[in-house]
Symmetry: C4
Subunit: 386 residues, 4 copies
C-alpha cells in the first residue's frame, strides 16, 4: 500500500512481526504430518532454522550440532575463530569485560588478521565425521578467501554484509563481482542481506542459491537507529518472496528466501515462514543455551566496526540445551522453546503440509496486537522475572 508523503513523493506501508498474525484455515492438518524441510543446492535440510554467523552464537561445536540436527549453523570465517587459533581465551576476555569497555575491546580484538590456514582448519573440524559445513564471509573476505573455502570442502558459503549489492560502486576499487564469483564456485552461495524485491531479484540473477532477508531487525544490530535504513521483516520477507516466485516462474530455479533477524519467539518464526520464507536465520535465540560459546552473551557482525559500530553485546537469560530449544519438550509457555513444534503446530492450524503450502496462509494486520499481544507478553515476562 502506497500513499503520498508530500506533493511529489510516495511512501510505502511496511509491516513487522508485531503488526500481523496468521489466520487459521477451514481445513486443518495433524502437526505430525507436516514437513518443515527445505532444499538448498540439491541437499535437503530437515531443520528450517539456521544459526546466524555470529561469534557468540556459532563456533565449531555448534556448527556440528546444527548439522547433526539436519540444519545449518554458519561459522563466521572473519570472526575470532579464524583470527585466533586458541580462541577460548579471547571469548573469556569478552565475557568478563564490563559493558562500558566492551565495544573498545571488540574493536581491538577484531583487528588481528584472518588466517587462511585457520579457515581451512575450522571447515575440516566442522565436517569431521561426515557433517555439513556452512561458513560466511563478507564481500571483501570473499574476494580473498572464497577459493580457500571451496578447497577446504565447505558445503554452503554465505556472503553477508549489511547489504550485499550486485551493483556496488567504489572509487577505490576492490568491488566484488558477485555473479562472477558464484559462477566460479561449485558450492551453493547464500547472499545477504536484502529487503526489497529488486535487490532480491538481482541476487537471484547473480546465481544465489538462497538470499538473506533483513536489515537492522536483530537484537544485536542497531543499523536502523544508526543510519535510519531498514524495512520491517514481514514486508521485507513478502517482497523478496514475490521476487523468488517471479524468478522461479521465469527460470524454473527455486531460490530459498531466508528471513534473518528480529525473531525471539516461535510465533515470529511462524510469521516469517508464512510471509514467504523457506527457512529463517537467528542468533539471539540460541545465545542463552549452555552450549553457546560465549554464553550468556552474543554480539553482531557490525559490532566491532572501528568507526561506526552498529551493534551491542547483548546478555541473554540462561536457557535450556539447544536441542530442547529446537525440538522441545518446552518447559515454558512464552514461545522460546520447541521452535519446530511451534512451526508444526502453526502449519497444522493453517492447514499447510509443507512450508511452500504455508506460504499461502492468510495474514491479518492489526493495531491491537501492539496492545493485546504485547501486554500479555509483558505481564508474563514480569511474572517470570520473579
Amino acid at each position: 500500500m502506497e500513499f503520498m508523503l508530500s506533493k511529489n513523493r510516495k511512501v510505502k506501508l511496511a509491516l513487522g512481526f508485531n503488526d500481523v498474525s496468521l489466520v487459521p484455515s477451514l481445513s486443518t492438518i495433524d502437526p505430525v504430518d507436516t514437513d518443515v524441510s527445505f532444499e538448498l543446492g540439491g541437499t535437503r535440510y530437515e531443520l528450517p532454522i539456521i544459526a546466524a554467523a555470529m561469534d557468540g552464537v556459532v563456533d565449531v561445536r555448534i556448527a556440528r550440532l546444527f548439522s547433526e540436527f539436519g540444519g545449518l549453523g554458519v561459522l563466521n570465517l572473519e570472526g575470532i575463530y579464524c583470527r585466533y587459533d586458541d580462541y577460548d581465551e579471547i571469548l573469556k576476555k569478552i565475557v568478563e569485560s564490563d559493558d562500558e569497555r566492551v565495544t573498545g575491546l571488540f574493536q581491538k580484538l577484531y583487528q588481528q588478521p584472518v588466517l587462511p590456514e585457520l579457515i581451512e582448519k575450522r571447515i575440516v573440524e566442522i565436517k569431521s565425521g561426515g557433517l555439513k559445513a556452512a561458513v560466511s564471509l563478507t564481500p571483501a573476505g570473499a574476494l580473498k578467501f572464497a577459493e580457500v573455502v571451496e578447497q577446504a570442502g565447505a558445503d554452503v558459503l554465505v556472503i553477508q554484509s549489511t547489504v550485499v549489492s550486485t551493483q556496488h560502486r567504489s572509487k577505490s576499487g576492490g568491488v566484488l563481482d558477485v555473479a562472477k564469483l558464484i559462477s566460479g564456485l561449485t558450492i551453493p552461495v547464500i547472499l545477504g542481506n536484502c529487503v526489497t524485491y529488486d535487490v532480491a531479484y538481482a541476487q537471484m540473477e547473480a546465481g544465489a542459491a538462497g538470499i538473506l532477508v533483513g536489515i537492522g531487525p536483530g537484537q544485536a544490530c542497531t543499523t536502523r537507529g544508526v543510519t535510519g535504513v531498514g524495512i520491517p521483516q514481514i514486508t521485507a520477507t513478502a517482497d523478496c518472496a514475490a521476487a523468488r516466485d517471479d524468478y522461479f516462474e521465469k527460470t524454473g530455479r527455486y531460490v530459498n528466501v531466508i528471513t534473518d533477524g528480529g525473531m525471539r519467539q516461535g510465533g515470529q518464526i511462524c510469521k516469517a515462514l508464512a510471509a514467504g520464507a523457506d527457512a529463517i536465520m537467528t542468533g539471539s535465540i540460541f545465545a542463552g543455551c549452555p552450549e553457546s560459546p560465549a554464553a550468556p552473551y552474543h554480539w553482531g557482525m557490525a559490532t566491532p566496526d572501528p568507526n561506526l559500530p552498529r551493534g551491542t553485546r547483548v546478555k541473554s537469560s540462561v536457557s535450556v540445551p539447544l536441542k530442547q530449544v529446537l525440538f522441545g519438550p518446552s518447559s515454558v509457555t512464552d514461545g522460546t522453546q520447541n521452535l519446530v513444534g511451534a512451526i508444526k503446530s502453526a502449519m497444522g492450524l493453517c492447514g499447510a503440509e509443507t512450508i511452500r503450502e504455508f506460504h499461502e496462509t492468510q495474514i491479518a494486520v492489526s493495531l491491537s496486537f501492539m496492545t493485546e499481544g504485547k501486554q500479555l507478553q509483558m505481564s508474563q515476562r514480569v511474572g517470570m522475572g520473579k
Copy 2:
C-alpha cells in the same frame, strides 16, 4: 478492509477490543427495560456470561452457582475433576507450587487418565436439585466420552480445542467427524474455537448450537506468541456473526456466537456483544472470586500440553463474591464488577432493548484509545495498587 502486503499478496485489517468503542445512539432506553437473555437448544438463559471450562475457574460448585444465576458454568471433563476423585489435594499442590515448577507440575498431573465414572459423577453432582449442567470435551475426548456425557444427563456439551475443524486431516486417523457426532446426540453442542467466517459457517452446517470465537486472546493463553496464529476479537466476532446472519437467513436456524477470551472489564464484554456476540465466555474475571476453586490462580486448557504448553498459571487479585461480580453493586470503578449492569447500561446508551438489537450498534475505531483510554486505566491501576 484489505490492502496489499506485496506484489501478489493481500492482508486484512483486524481490530481488537482496545481499537474500538461503541457509539451512543440518538434514541436511548432505560437500562432496567433491557433484556440480556439468549436462547440455546430451546432453553432461555438470562445471563449472557458463561464461565470458561478452566479447572481454576469452574468446579462443580461454580457450575451450580452459574446455573442458579440463569447461566452456564462449563466443567472441563478432561481436567483434574474427572482425573482425580479427591481433587482438593491436587488443587492445593497447584496453588502451593512456585512459578518455575508449576508448568512441569501441570504436565505431570494431567497425565493421569480421565475416568468415565467421574464424568458421570460430576454431571450428576451439578444437576442435583434441577440445575443445568454444561460440560466440555476436546475432539479426541468427544470420540471417547460423548455418549457417557449424554447418558449422564448433561444439558450442553462444549467441544473445544484451540480450533475445532470440520475438515481435519491426520495420517494417524482418529479424526472426529463433528457433524456425525452432533447428529447422533440429542443435547445441544457448542463448538470452538474459530475466528473466521468460513470456519464459523462450516461449524453451523455441522450442526453446532453455538460457536466459540477466539484464538489466543485470553490472559492464560499464549497461542499467539507461540505459533503466531490468532485474530483480534472484534474482527473475529464480527466475521463469525456475519456467518451466523447469513446461515440464519438461509436456514432459519439461529446459532449463538459466543466470544471467548480477552475480556477483563465490562467495557470489553459490551464491545464483544455489540460486535455480534450473543453471549460471552470468560475465565480470568472469576478467578479472583473467593468461591474460585484455586483462587487466586487459574490456567488455560493448553497449559498442561506435554510438548508445547501454550499458557501460564495466572495470579488474579482478590475480588468480591461471584454474585457481586456479575450483578453488583460495584464497589470499584474499573469495570470489573456488576458486569450485567454494565451491559444493561451500555445497551441503554445505545438504545438496544435486546442483545440482537445491540448488534446494530455503530462502532468507532481509533488510534487514540491506545493512549487516551489506556493511560486512564493505567493510572487507575497504579492508584489502586497502593
Copy 3:
C-alpha cells in the same frame, strides 16, 4: 473515514487529542489582538473555559471566581452542596478517606436527599454582588427542580448526564421531555453530553443554547472502561460542530459547542477549540488549585452511583492559584498554566482573530504524536517529579 469491519458492517475512524496537531497558517496574528470570547443566551463571556459541575471542583466560591473572570463555574445542584447545609465537614471526610473505602463513602454520602431550599440558597450566594450563576441538574433532577432554579435567578442551567437523550424510552415513566422543559424556561439551557452529529442536532432542535461534547474522556470518568461507550474528543467535537454549522445555516440560531473532558494541557484545549468547540469545560485542571474545595482531590458525577460507579477519586498535584492557571504568568513549561495565553498563542500561530475563525485551522493526524509527543511529555514529567 469509514471502512468495513466485516462483510456487512462499517466502522468509522475517530480521532483523539493525541492523534492530532494544529497546522500553523501562512498568515499569523499578534496574540494580543485575538478575541477568545463566546456568547451564550445573549450574554458575552470573555473566558472560553468553563469549570465542570464536579463537587471537588466547583463550590460557591469557585463559581463566583469564574464569574469574576468573565466565565462560568457550574455548581452541581445534586451534589453535596445542596444535600448538606454544612458541607465543609463532608468534604473533610472525603479528603481524609483512604482509597479503598472512598467509593463506598461516596455511595453513602450521596444518598442524602437534595433540598430545594439549599438549591435556592446556593444560587443566591453565587449571584450576590451581581455575578452570574451557572448550575447543573440531571434529567431526573430537572423534572423536579428546574422551576426552583429559574425562580432562584440562575443565569444558565446545565442539564447533564452521561448522555441526555431527546428520545429516551422507559417503561417506568418519568422521562424528561427536554424540548418542553426548555420551552417553559426563560434561562438558556446547556444539554449534555453527546458525541455524535445526530444527537447534537436533536439537542439543538430541542432548544439547547449550548451542548456538551464528550462521553468518557475525563480523568475522573471511567464510562469507557465500564461500558465500552465513547468517542475520542476531536472527532466528537468536529462532528457536533458540523451539526451546529448545519443547524445555524438552516435556522440562523448559533448554538455553542462545548468540549467537556479529557483536557489536561493548554495544547489539548487549543485542539478542541480548533476542532470546532466554542468553549471547553474541564474539572481536573483546577482540582489542584489551592482554592479548590477538596484539594487535591476531585471526582466525577458518576462516581457515587450506588450500583455501577463509573469514576474514581483522583488526586492532583498541587498547583498555583486559579487566576494563574487561567491567565498566567506560567512558571512551568508543561502547558498546565496560562491556559488563555496558550489559546491566544495558538490562535496567533494559526492566524485566527476569533474562535470562530480558529475553527478553520487545518488539522494534521499522525501516528508519531504518540511517540514524539508523548515521549517528551513523559521525560518532562519524570524530570519534574524529582
Copy 4:
C-alpha cells in the same frame, strides 16, 4: 494523504521520525565516495549539521569549532552572550539552579537588555582568524539589530522565532517586513521556523537563502504540548522540500531546507536528509559534549518567555568531545556518535553520491517501528544505564 474528520472537514496524515525508515537501493556506493556538503550564499559547507542557536549549546568557542569543522554553529544574539559581558557567572547560576526554580531564573536573567556593542564584540570574536560567523535574531531583534550584525561582518543571519511569518498582523505595529529586510542586506538570511509548503514557499519568495523546518519537535521545546501546534518532522521536511523544488524549477534559485529539531540519533538525521533536507540543525545532541558552555544542560529559545515559557532546562548525559560526535570514531552503538559517518553510511546503502541524490531515497512507513525499533532502543538504553 487526506481523509475526512467530519462531514465537512478534511485532515491530513503526517509522519515523524519514528514512523519511517529508509529503503536501501539496488545500486550501492562506497561511503567514502559520498559528498555531504551543501552551499549557502555562494559558500560551500562540508558539514551538513548546524548547531542550534541555543545558549546552552553555542557560545563563541563552539561557533568557532563548527566553522573549523566546515560547518555553522549559530550564536543567539538575544541570549545571555549579548546581554552580559561576563557570561560565565550567569551560566554558572543556571547550571547550579535546581529544577523547580530554574524557569523563574531564566525569566529573570533574560530581562537584561541586549547590547549592540556585545553583538559586535561576539561576531568579531567568532570571525577572528578567518572563521565564519553565523548568528541569530528574532524578528523583533532583526528590526533593531540587523544593521549592526551586517556591519560587524557576520556571514549568515538566522531570523528565528516559533514561526517567522511573511504575513503577520499586529495592531500594535512593529511588524518585520521580512522581504524588505533581506533585500536591504548583503549577507544570506536563513528564516525559521515553518512546517508547511505555503509558508516555505512564501519565505523563499521573501528572499531566504535557507529555511528552518520544525515547530515543537525539539527536546527542549514544548510548543506542541502548550499550544497544540506542530507537524511531525518527516512530513514537514518533505512538504517544505517540495516547495523548494517547485521554487527552484520556477526561479532557478536553490534555497536550502534545514530540518531543525527532534533528532537525537544519526538515524533520525539520515531520515531528515532523505526526506528532503539539505542540512539539519540540532542542539541537544551537542549539549553533553565537554566543550558545551553549560554542560550537561541546555534549554530552548522559548524557555525564558515571561508569560508562556515553552521549554525546559534539559539535562544530557555526558558525551564525548564534539569532534568525535561529528566525525567519530564511535565508541557506542546507539547512533549518537560519528554522525557524519552515519550519514555517509546511509547514503552508501541508498546509492546516493550527494545529498541531493539522497533526496530520491524511497521511504517506508510502518506501525512496527514503534515497537520493533523502539523496543531495541529501550533495551539498549536500559542496558547502558547500568
